[in-house]
């Protein structure tokens, strides 16, 4: 059978083949991972649907493949029509006659109908007549991205034409650069590095490519500024130590992150604009009722941001548990597309590695990201005394289009207020 790139998640229309985990000629078991596919949301491993042998890989690493396109051919051991001998002849089995005597042979009807090995079959999900499909191909428009206006979402020629004209408009805009838009950057001549000495060229691919695109989009869209403050974490350090035994009993690794989230939620409630995004097209600011906190996570493949959903409704233990499972899933590449979606605010923890503080890049289209840094014992002046306290820098990057400096500072003050005394967020 031909195995087609399955629907990986809501709104995912294509994926990039990042790595094949099987080779042609190799046996494969049902549910054995065959290939790593990267979407704009996550890298997923796709398992084999059956026991069999890999016949042929139909897509190469680095290739971007639309959902529904065949990526591998598997000869199944469970697939009787394909494998069992016909009249004792294994070689004859694949050439079972189809329709019409004499002219026709080969293939099971499975192959003879819609899954023809050589024909590129449009996903049955798209409703469009052959003429509309031809027009779309001529104009290089991906039908899976066109919204059909006909009954049941059918795509008409007019729909395709409209998208095409929209595309032309986008292209012509790019020739009149307007500052700060991603489109405008494309008109700049590329600056390429002229190598001297030994250079290894690594194709920009997979998660790395997506990170590059996301960062450029964020930096070119959001008007970044970073506000830095310090906070005395001594109380939280104490609180965490006090909970050590219980954490052990529960089998949970208790980090500072759950406490920080707990302190963050009431601050965000008071400053809803920090938990918002800007809809450029409609010129509207979206204030979000959910508090879904993204946790920037360092993986071997690069930065990924799994999301703790409805963090405001979770206890410190719940949060600690979820952060641990989610980051483990993320680091081992098992995170699902859904886990990476729906964030409203992001926390990035640079402190685990080092540094005083960083200036984080906003996880666009969110408008703010909180950098939490290393907690270090430092001498601080309290009253007129120099004492030792567990101090931490907080660096908050904000989209100035939505949040002004004064509001960012006020928000930070509240965050420091809650963090410096955990009783406060318990009451909040």
């Amino acid at each position: 059978m031909e195995f087609k790139l399955p629907d990986i998640g809501e709104g995912v229309a294509e994926g990039e083949i990042t790595k094949w985990l099987v080779k042609a000629g190799e046996p494969v078991k049902a549910d054995q991972p065959m290939v790593e596919v990267m979407t704009d949301k996550a890298t997923v491993e796709i398992p084999s649907p059956m026991n069999g042998t890999i016949d042929e890989l139909l897509a190469s690493e680095g290739e971007t493949v639309p959902v529904g396109k065949a990526i591998v051919r598997i000869a199944g051991t469970g697939d009787s029509a394909a494998k069992k001998p016909s009249n004792g002849q294994a070689h004859a089995a694949q050439d079972r006659p189809t329709s019409r005597p004499s002219t026709s042979a080969g293939s099971t009807p499975a192959a003879a109908s819609a899954t023809d090995s050589s024909a590129e079959v449009l996903p049955f999900k798209v409703l469009a007549t052959p003429a509309t499909r031809k027009l779309a191909r001529d104009l290089q428009i991906d039908l899976s991205r066109v919204e059909g206006t006909g009954p049941h979402g059918r795509i008409t020629k007019v729909d395709v034409q409209m998208v095409y004209e929209g595309k032309q408009a986008a292209t012509s805009r790019s020739s009149h650069p307007s500052p700060g838009t991603a489109v405008a950057t494309k008109t700049k001549a590329p600056v390429s590095y002229v190598p001297s000495g030994s250079v290894e060229r690594i194709p920009l691919r997979g998660v790395r490519k997506k990170i590059a695109e996301a960062m450029i989009r964020s930096k070119h869209t959001a008007a970044h500024f970073t506000y830095v403050e310090e906070v005395d974490m001594s109380e939280i350090v104490k609180m965490r130590s006090a909970a050590k035994d219980e954490a052990k009993a529960r089998g949970i690794k208790l980090t500072f992150l759950p406490f920080i989230i707990k302190a963050l939620i009431p601050a965000l409630r008071e400053f809803p604009y920090l938990n918002s995004s800007l809809d450029d097209e409609k010129q509207e600011i979206l204030l979000k009722g959910d508090f879904n906190i993204g946790i920037a996570t360092d993986t071997d493949n690069g930065l990924m941001v799994p999301v703790i959903k409805t963090a405001d409704r979770k206890s410190i233990w719940d949060l600690a548990d979820e952060i641990e499972t989610l980051s483990e899933k993320t680091r081992t590449g098992k995170v699902s597309v859904d886990d990476l979606k729906g964030g409203t605010f992001t926390i990035t923890n640079a402190g685990s590695i080092g540094g005083v503080f960083a200036t984080p890049v906003i996880n666009y289209p969110e408008v703010a990201i909180l950098g939490v840094n290393a907690i270090r014992k430092r001498p601080v002046v309290k009253g007129d005394q120099i004492t030792i306290a567990d101090m931490m820098f907080l660096s908050l990057s904000v989209d100035h289009r939505v949040v002004d400096g004064a509001d960012a500072a006020r928000f930070m003050n509240r965050l420091v207020y809650f963090l410096s005394d955990p009783k406060r967020f318990v009451f909040a």
Partner: protein, 474 residues
């Protein structure tokens, strides 16, 4: 003489491609070693359908006429005369193809073609070798019957479909090895003409690649006609050392591990077909084949060698004439430099059994594999006025409808004339038609195509002419 394009093989892929190339104003030649029309017109689709129709007529006169009040005394079948009529049909069609090639200024070159290099083709015929040069070549050499070493064909009493379609005397006992499309079609035709027919099939079911519910209808008819089906049975060879000189053959078979012997006057071996990709010098120009000898092509019919294309059976499954023709049109456009895409949702197909089977779109299994949730609607021909009035009520139409957007995902038919009825269903699938489109299209009464909207309505429990049985959605 340098051509823009030379097509090798004048079957339903090649001649269609050559005609279109001619229409597009390209200087075109077509090389054919035998008769224009290929297997399809000469020893395949067309002659088999003629024979099946004639046999069906004979059967009806004997078995159904009386019920309608027509008495015919002692009807006889003159097989020789039947073959003459069939040959006339073939001749008319192949002649027509020849004229069409001429009318579109395609030069017909007779002989066996082989590549000398990437732009030169040698052509060997009785009159010696010639050569033609061209910028583009289209390999459309088709396929041929597979043979088995222990069942060597002799053209006399161990035969392929080619000879089976040209028998002058009726075999008393015909044993067919291979219960695929060809075996079933030819077997039923000879059973209707009066032969005792046995079909030997290695798998558990004849037409093993087709859904059981469709095949069951045909199996019942076969048994009613007195045919014997030996499923899960393997052919092993002949007891005779020289089958050609034996008047009665004894075929050794193994059924469920037990050795048996089947008597036959004639044995038809119909176990599949293989691509004609040898002796063309393809290796010389570096055209890649897959492990089964099929020429590898991309989505536009291009081989790995620039300027060499391949279409139809020689490129592998589905080995169907109409798919070869479509390939031919696409490749002609590509050679001309037009935008062309192999972009079809379905290659419909039909088996000319009695009753016929025809399918387009996805099977239930395929739809499930693609994660499509679907409803099933069914309409039996026993409830069709037209089927009743032609005394052909076996079979049904089954429609798979996408739950999400109500589009027609697949249509499966077994019954009278379904090889014709499937065309409307294929159009529906290709157009992305929805259930509502089908039922809002008025179908002529009383006709068999009314079964299509009825089956669609049945999926929504709204069929007018059958009881609406709730079916599980999948």
């Amino acid at each position: 003489m340098k051509y823009d394009a030379v097509v090798i093989g004048a079957g339903p892929g090649g001649y269609v491609c050559a005609i279109r190339l001619g229409q597009l104003g390209l200087k075109t030649a077509i090389v054919e070693k035998d008769q224009v029309g290929g297997v399809c017109l000469n020893v395949g689709c067309i002659p088999s359908k003629a024979l099946i129709h004639a046999a069906g007529t004979f059967w009806k006169i004997q078995n159904e006429a009386e019920k309608m009040g027509i008495t015919v005394s002692d009807p006889k079948c003159d097989l020789g005369k039947m073959q003459e009529w069939k040959s006339g049909v073939v001749k008319k069609l192949t002649g027509g193809v020849g004229q069409l090639l001429k009318a579109n200024k395609v030069d017909l070159i007779r002989g066996n073609a082989f590549f000398k290099d990437k732009s030169t083709l040698g052509v060997r015929s009785g009159e010696g070798d010639t050569q033609v040069t061209a910028s583009n070549f289209v390999v459309a050499t088709g396929s041929r019957n597979l043979t088995l070493p222990f069942l060597p064909m002799n053209g006399k009493n161990v035969i392929s479909s080619t000879e089976a379609l040209d028998l002058k005397t009726l075999p008393k006992r015909l044993v067919i090895i291979g219960g695929g499309f060809i075996g079933v079609e030819i077997g039923m035709a000879y059973a209707k003409l009066g032969s005792e027919v046995h079909i030997v099939e290695a798998l558990e079911q004849i037409l093993p690649s087709i859904d059981k519910d469709l095949v069951g209808v045909v199996e019942r008819k076969m048994k009613k006609m007195g045919m014997t089906l030996h499923t899960s049975t393997f052919a092993k060879g002949f007891e005779e050392t020289d089958p050609a000189s034996a008047s009665t053959l004894h075929l050794k078979v193994e059924k469920n591990g037990k050795a048996e012997s089947l008597e036959a006057d004639v044995v038809l071996v119909s176990i599949g077909r293989k691509p004609n990709s040898e002796d063309l010098g393809l290796e010389k120009v570096g055209v890649q084949l897959d492990s089964r000898g099929n020429i590898k092509t991309d989505n536009l019919g291009r081989t790995n060698v620039v300027g060499i294309y391949a279409i139809g059976d020689v490129t592998g499954p589905p080995q169907l004439a109409h798919r070869a023709s479509m390939d031919g049109l696409l490749v002609a456009s590509t050679i001309k430099g037009e935008k062309a895409y192999r972009d079809y949702r379905t290659v419909p197909w039909a088996v000319f059994s009695d009753p016929e089977i025809a399918v387009c779109g996805l099977s239930e299994k395929e739809a499930t594999e693609r994660g499509i949730a679907f409803k099933v609607g069914r309409f039996p021909f026993a409830a069709s006025g037209r089927a009743l009035s032609t005394n052909e009520t076996d079979g049904f139409v089954k429609v798979l409808i996408n739950e999400k957007d109500e589009s027609i995902v697949g249509v499966h038919m077994v019954g009278p004339e379904v090889s014709n009825l499937i065309a409307e269903a294929a159009l529906a699938v290709e157009m992305g038609a929805c259930a509502e489109d089908i039922v809002r299209t008025i179908h002529t009464h009383p006709t068999l195509p009314e079964a299509f909207p009825e089956a669609v309505e049945a999926a929504y429990l709204k069929a007018i002419h059958t009881a609406n049985v709730p079916r599980r959605s999948r």
